[in-house]
Assembly symmetry: C2
Homo-oligomer: 210 residues x 2
Amino acid sequence: KINVICPATEVHIRKYTKQEQVMVRETPELYETVVKPYIAAFPASRTKWVENILLGLSEQSKVLYSCTDFMVLPDMKWDLKTVSSLYLVALVQDRTIRSLRDLRKGHVGLLSSIRSEAERVVKEKWGLGRGALRMYVHYQPSYYHFHVHIVNGNYQGAMVGMSVGQAHLLDDIISLLELEGPSVFERMTLTYGLGDQHGLVDAMRRAGAL
Amino acid sequence: KINVICPATEVHIRKYTKQEQVMVRETPELYETVVKPYIAAFPASRTKWVENILLGLSEQSKVLYSCTDFMVLPDMKWDLKTVSSLYLVALVQDRTIRSLRDLRKGHVGLLSSIRSEAERVVKEKWGLGRGALRMYVHYQPSYYHFHVHIVNGNYQGAMVGMSVGQAHLLDDIISLLELEGPSVFERMTLTYGLGDQHGLVDAMRRAGAL
């Protein structure tokens, strides 16, 4: 199976170029001084495709579930047929959540709805029952508009994006937020792997984090 | 590369049999009523090989680092040569830590030492620098004697054991313990995948968790 990405931006090319991984420890201070400005610098055009979906301007025939808070649709990497590699994505409407770092206790309801609606849709449409899905969030993500990856729990291909140190289980996130008060992701040091072509690597190096 | 396990117990055979994965949500209550008795029922003979290493009775020529609290040595799955697939394991001496669930704030010092000594050993012996290692803990683990997996951060093979929902990054664990007080892993619902031949699946099913 070949994925064709056209037009491919420089970021796509970087993303799919074979890269060395470096593990970064992002303290709350590094988030404020390095990562937040990095995210803020992205032009809105970079997530125009997400906006178009959320505004109902594109991909609407693919949407599996939609409410005022989020949409669930197949990920472009899925062929829509092979249940063993089922891959959906949930896109949230709330533009103020740029990443995992912005999640607060008040988002537990939203995250729980994504979990239950995704389970319901997958059950109804593909017959997969309880415990069949692995749902996770990337940090760093490839685009800064909050979204959840929903994959068959049995998928065990060489999916780099499923690795500890990049993926955070939705269930664990919900449990942490419920448990620990409103600001766990604000206060926590997050450690993750970055390809050495990732736009953050230079800035992290300059900040002494690498 | 072929790993030969001899003698192979029933647990080894189960572990390496192709299994369906099920995702389980283990609440603190399920831990108390289902998982703790499951762990307690293991005969001591099952971790005799770990005891023998920790007591200095076997594998001592392989030990890369040893102190009163833990040892670092190559994992049996590593060929000891190919740096790109570097795989070490840290075994702790403290027998009261059976798994992630037993970690408390008081263990931060131990966990931080494992992190820094592993980094130092790998730097000295294989020249890998800062950010080169991905260290993680399994939950559920394959044996209930606390240990940390230390792998090359670039290793991207089809390592099921590196997936979110089974692996927990050592750095994130340390950050959570530092942040959240003594009992986060006692209070948190942990979600993870289990092969359907795993010994916990039936008990979880009987408890209504699946």
